[in-house]
Symmetry: C3
Subunit: 133 residues, 3 copies
């Protein structure tokens, strides 16, 4: 029954924002003890990924390196000028499937769920669906 | 109960073909009102992704840029000559998890589901599984 | 009910290890006939992917090429020196959603599930969750 839409505002062109708290809150609110949780991003220039949050340098390195691999400008044809963001969105992915165990998200010690903005700043949404087994 | 196998023919080496209609039809046919939908590609040189379909230049830019990042020829060892396709398949991914809400796929305004051919032309399959909550 | 944690040891810095047998065993043990199966990796410098296992050259080519695309050293800031592994982890992904049909994993002829080590050698875990429809 539980599918909650969350909204957030991004502030940079490329930005990784932790949404672990919002996802965990939706899981808690659902009352599901054993099941799965889907995080779905309904945009084509943003995505969702899991990575480390202990050292902010990790996210800084990811941010820098992916724009080296997929440059902002590279003789793209798309007139909006955000083709790099579309490519990053497909490579990082639009959805995540997570495990819910004993009423909580099963995440590794260093894992954080990041909303991944590739064409900000913008107002964005993501959906969290919790399914009981 | 619903897991439907769809077949399609690709016409180019690298091609993104919208399969949103087929996936939506399987969801409608399943009768599931609230749940999730898995799209699974059983190949190792093809995948599935979500991206924009409003401007065909987006797909053209993605197609061109990914073959620049992962070149068709780069001193690969695999004798079939399609290592680039295998790499693209792993980076784009073989499965998608989508949300079903009020009997319909929950997709953003600009989102289209693309079967992603990286070693065509070929006859290909994909599976659509719908799960009720 | 079934969510099983598996452990494995990796031996190289970058290594793709087939875990299809362990995943299939958990599916069999669950008794689920029709449903889905989630493979989740709780690390931020490893992931999970599907690719070919018929010719080992495919995995050799993937291993070599991804470290060309995302170099081990590239003026990263993160002091642990494994930023490349974090980036690969996000691009390959931390989870897979698979279909269970007639009590078995639905996989293509050439598909193998690979635990993807990007910062080994280490002792690693992955979780397999099976959900009945």
């Amino acid at each position: 029954m539980t599918c909650v839409r969350h909204t957030l505002s991004t502030r940079s062109k490329v930005q990784f924002i932790s949404i672990t708290q919002q996802v965990a809150a939706t899981v808690a609110q659902s009352g599901v003890q054993e099941g799965i949780c889907i995080v779905f991003v309904p945009h084509t220039t943003a995505g969702v990924t899991i990575n480390e949050n202990a050292d902010p340098d990790v996210i800084a390195d990811i941010t820098k390196e992916i724009s080296k691999i997929i440059p902002f400008e590279d003789h793209y044809t798309h007139s909006e000028g955000n083709s790099a963001a579309h490519i990053k969105s497909s490579l990082f992915g639009s959805s995540l499937t997570l495990v819910v165990q004993s009423g909580r998200l099963l995440l590794g010690t260093w894992q954080t769920i990041y909303f991944s903005e590739f064409d900000g700043p913008r107002t964005r949404n993501f959906h969290v669906k919790v399914l009981s087994e």
